[in-house]
């Protein structure tokens, strides 16, 4: 740092300290400019400026200078950081960040966006510019994209730079305002041969079409499937699969009318694309493209023509990678030919194909697959994890002897857990006795916890004594004890009932205050919920009291318990009025599991409430809430 700049910066902070005031946006930006122009890279300062929001970003934009690339890069990093807020709902911005609301949601903001986008016309773009544009200056970016689309001499380098940040933003469902405009821009770009004849740009555009869910550009993608270059066909197939796969985009039908419209649009696109896809699958000879076709086939999970195309591709290819890819797709689909494909995998087991075929059996435990799958049990002395999962899913008691043999020898905890989970699914006395024995002997906490959960789901002979012992054992891990308490509710036998009575009567004796207030509370809630499960007198009132005074974590637990027990309760209705995400999640799940018909009107109104709908269609982590709404409404008989 040059002495003059140092002195200036020092004076700035001394002044701020003396005046007991934080530096202003302008002061911080000036500091960054000084440091950058002195050859430093104050990235942390750029981050801090960005975190102050769009007012600071607007000040930063004043100092953008094409002749000062280092400074401009850092300033644009700050702009990009600040611009992240554009993903937020307009009302959130209006309430919390008025400057951003004005910039992004009013006509007054257009001039401000243009100032932020001043570098668009520079000869060389700072690396941070594309990210800054999509976040903080979408309107100038859209104008620029349309200009490129109309140009006979587009800036191909810059288009390449822009595609990925735009795609990432759209894919993350951050774009609330201009999705349609971006789709139009993409359609215009792919229609310009001066752009698409450049191979890297064409590849970038294919990816962008998929990331943006721009089904209006589907024809462009399909055209690429007929080109002679295999690498282009491969990229096009990947884009196609990505674009059309129901799992790739948003929350689908569960998001209410907006989600349903998007779902229907994608469904129409899948119908349009299927002929071309099946044609290519039938003639493609390049192994890389074949593998991409196999992965992309998941976009049509119900379509018999695609399943048949995969059968034929499996037979036609010799490549184990392609075969594995087909089998991976089988696991995620419901093609009528899936059993045939899996059996073909059994016939060509080399190079990992058998393992993936067994994974597909676990996903689709069809009766036709049982004989050959069970026969494999005798071929291996040691436990085979994928085979364990497969026979567990088939739930055939013929597998029990082999699984018990492996259980006797196996010491690996993860494999023992697989064996336990497989045995859980297999009916019969032998599997139940084996699980009860594991529960009684197993010392490893993770396995113990899972065994208690198995005992909770499936009645195991004699398990009540072990569960009671675990529940009251102050030396056992708390997570195991919690599961043991809950499992007691599944056992009407006296040892279980007596233990539950003791826990209920003097919980502090078994879960003392020395555990800490939150663990003690959680234990007491678990005891109350188990009492409800065991239909004990007064348990409903006890649960309701815990719910009324509990934290969101307590309330969520109560609701999920009711869902598991399929027991309706008035707390569910109360919880549907909540402003807490966790409680809302629990309430929707409980409503769907306990009495969906009753709750349909409330659930429908809730899903369509403006800010709940905004949450469901956002890119935020919603723990499957859209699917929970969808499942509950479907169960209730309406969608």
């Amino acid at each position: 740092m040059r002495p003059l700049a140092s002195a200036g910066v020092l004076l700035l902070f001394l002044t701020a300290a003396v005046l007991n005031a934080a530096p202003s946006d302008r002061e911080l930006v000036q500091q960054l400019v000084a440091q950058a122009d002195a050859g430093e890279t104050p990235s942390a300062l750029a981050q801090s400026i960005g975190e102050r929001g769009m007012t600071a970003a607007s000040v930063a934009a004043e100092f953008l200078d094409e002749r000062k690339p280092r400074r401009s890069q850092l300033l644009l990093e700050a702009v990009a950081t600040a611009g992240t807020c554009r993903r937020s709902h307009a009302e959130l911005l209006r309430l919390y960040h008025p400057a951003a609301h004005e910039l992004f949601h009013t006509t007054n903001g257009i001039a401000g966006q243009r100032r932020l986008a001043v570098a668009l016309v520079w000869q060389e773009w700072p690396a941070a510019l594309p990210e800054a544009l999509i976040r903080a200056a979408p309107l100038p970016l859209l104008d620029w994209l349309q200009a490129q689309a109309a140009s006979p001499t587009p800036s191909l380098d810059k288009l390449r730079q822009v595609c990925q940040p735009v795609g990432n933003w759209l894919r993350a469902r951050n774009e609330r305002q201009h999705t349609h405009a971006f789709h139009q821009a993409i359609a215009a770009l792919v229609a310009n041969p001066a752009i698409t004849r450049d191979l890297p740009v064409r590849t970038a555009l294919l990816r962008l079409v998929a990331d943006a869910s721009a089904t209006g550009s589907l024809d462009f993608v399909l055209q690429q499937l007929r080109l002679s270059q295999p690498e282009v066909r491969a990229d096009a197939v990947v884009a196609l699969g990505h674009l059309l796969n129901p799992q790739s985009h948003g929350c689908g039908r569960g998001c209410g009318p907006a989600g349903l419209a998007e779902w229907n649009r994608l469904a129409a696109a899948r119908t349009q694309a299927i002929e071309e896809f099946v044609r290519l699958a039938g003639v493609e000879s390049d192994v890389t493209v074949q593998a991409k076709l196999a992965a992309a086939a998941e976009a049509w999970p119900e379509e018999a023509r695609v399943g048949q195309a995969m059968v034929e591709l499996f037979r036609r290819t010799n490549d184990a990678g392609v075969r594995r890819a087909i089998l991976f797709s089988v696991a995620g689909t419901r093609w009528p030919q899936r059993a045939a494909i899996i059996l073909a995998g059994f016939d060509a087991p080399a190079d990992g194909v058998l393992g993936v075929a067994l994974q597909a059996v676990a996903a689709h435990p069809l009766p036709d697959l049982a004989p050959r799958t069970l026969a494999m049990l005798e071929e291996f002395r040691d436990a085979q994890p994928m085979l364990i999962d497969a026979v567990g899913a088939l739930a055939n008691p013929k597998a029990t002897p082999a699984l018990l043999r492996w259980l006797e020898r196996e010491r690996n905890v993860a494999v023992r857990l697989k064996l336990a989970l497989a045995l859980e699914k297999i009916p019969g006395e032998a599997s139940a006795n084996a699980l009860a024995g594991m529960l009684a002997r197993e010392a490893e906490p993770l396995l113990g916890e899972h065994l208690c959960r198995i005992a909770s789901r499936r009645h195991l002979p004699g398990a009540e004594a072990t569960l009671a012992s675990l529940a009251e054992d102050g030396t056992a891990p708390i997570t195991v004890r919690a599961q043991a308490v809950w499992a007691l509710g599944n056992y009407p036998e006296p040892p279980a009932r007596n233990c539950l009575a003791r826990l209920r009567e003097t919980p502090e004796k078994f879960f003392p205050a020395t555990l800490g207030p939150s663990l003690t509370e959680q234990a007491q809630v678990t005891i109350a919920l188990t009492s409800l499960r065991a239909h004990q007198s007064g348990a409903e009132g006890e649960m309701a009291r815990w719910f009324a005074t509990g934290s969101p974590a307590v309330q969520l637990t109560c609701l999920l318990s009711l869902a598991e027990l399929k027991q309706d309760d008035r707390v569910i209705e109360q919880a549907l009025h909540t402003g807490d995400f966790a409680v809302l999640l629990g309430a929707v799940k409980a409503a769907g599991a306990t009495n969906p018909t009753k709750y349909v009107p409330h659930l429908r109104a809730l899903r369509e409430a403006p800010f709940v709908a905004a949450l469901l269609t956002s890119g935020l982590d919603t723990w499957g809430l859209p699917a929970a709404f969808s499942a509950a409404l479907r169960e209730g008989g309406r969608q």
Binding site: E91, L92, A99, A482, E521, Q522, F581, F611, S618
Partner: protein, 193 residues
């Protein structure tokens, strides 16, 4: 740990998810002015939580938050937070009441301010303790923010931590108390001679 224990009881957790229970960052700022203890209490919400708060605010369900809806919601929130505080100073329990409208900031922060009744304190050091019941329901990190380094001749509020090295903490890790309802902040009010 807290939420994980509950959720492991009943649910298979998807490894890719954060907790469904929204965490809240908190900043406390305490100072004395005009014979009262003042508290600035900033909550920084996750976006998910902020959106659902809008859902609660939007009583007419028109998708826009009017000034009236906003003010009504935050007034209720401030009163609820105030009721959840347990403040003791120099051995006396003091109520904290809202003293000014909430301030919202660009990082989804909500700053509530509270004040106590006027209290007369003799020169010296007076121990205080602030317990926050809201923190029990909504876990998250805490930070004591220095309200301003007053000179030795002025009334000031200092945080108290378990550190014995004499260094003044800029971050204060607030420990859970034995009381099941809250987390607590210990401080000292220094009245100069």
């Amino acid at each position: 740990m807290k939420t994980a224990l509950f959720l492991s009881l009943l649910v298979s957790l998807a490894a890719a998810h954060e907790s469904p229970v929204d965490h809240v960052d908190r900043e406390f700022r305490l100072w004395v002015a005009e014979g009262r203890l003042h508290l600035s209490y900033r909550l920084q919400l996750a976006e998910r939580a902020a959106l659902l708060q809008l859902h609660q605010m939007d009583t007419d369900a028109d998708g826009r938050i009017s000034h009236a809806e906003r003010d009504a919601y935050f007034t209720t929130q401030a009163e609820r937070l105030g009721r959840g505080f347990r403040l003791e100073l120099a051995g006396r329990a003091l109520a904290l009441t809202p003293s000014s409208p909430v301030q919202c900031d660009a990082r989804l922060g909500q700053t509530f301010t509270f004040q106590t009744p006027q209290v007369a304190l003799a020169p010296g050091r007076h121990a205080g303790r602030l317990a926050d019941a809201h923190a029990r329901a909504y876990p998250g990190p805490f930070r004591w923010v220095d309200a301003g380094s007053a000179s030795a001749g002025e009334v000031r509020v200092e945080p108290v931590s378990a550190a014995t090295d004499g260094k003044r903490p800029t971050w204060l890790a607030v420990k859970a108390t034995t009381h099941p309802d809250s987390l607590a902040l210990n401080f000292v009010v220094v009245i100069p001679q």
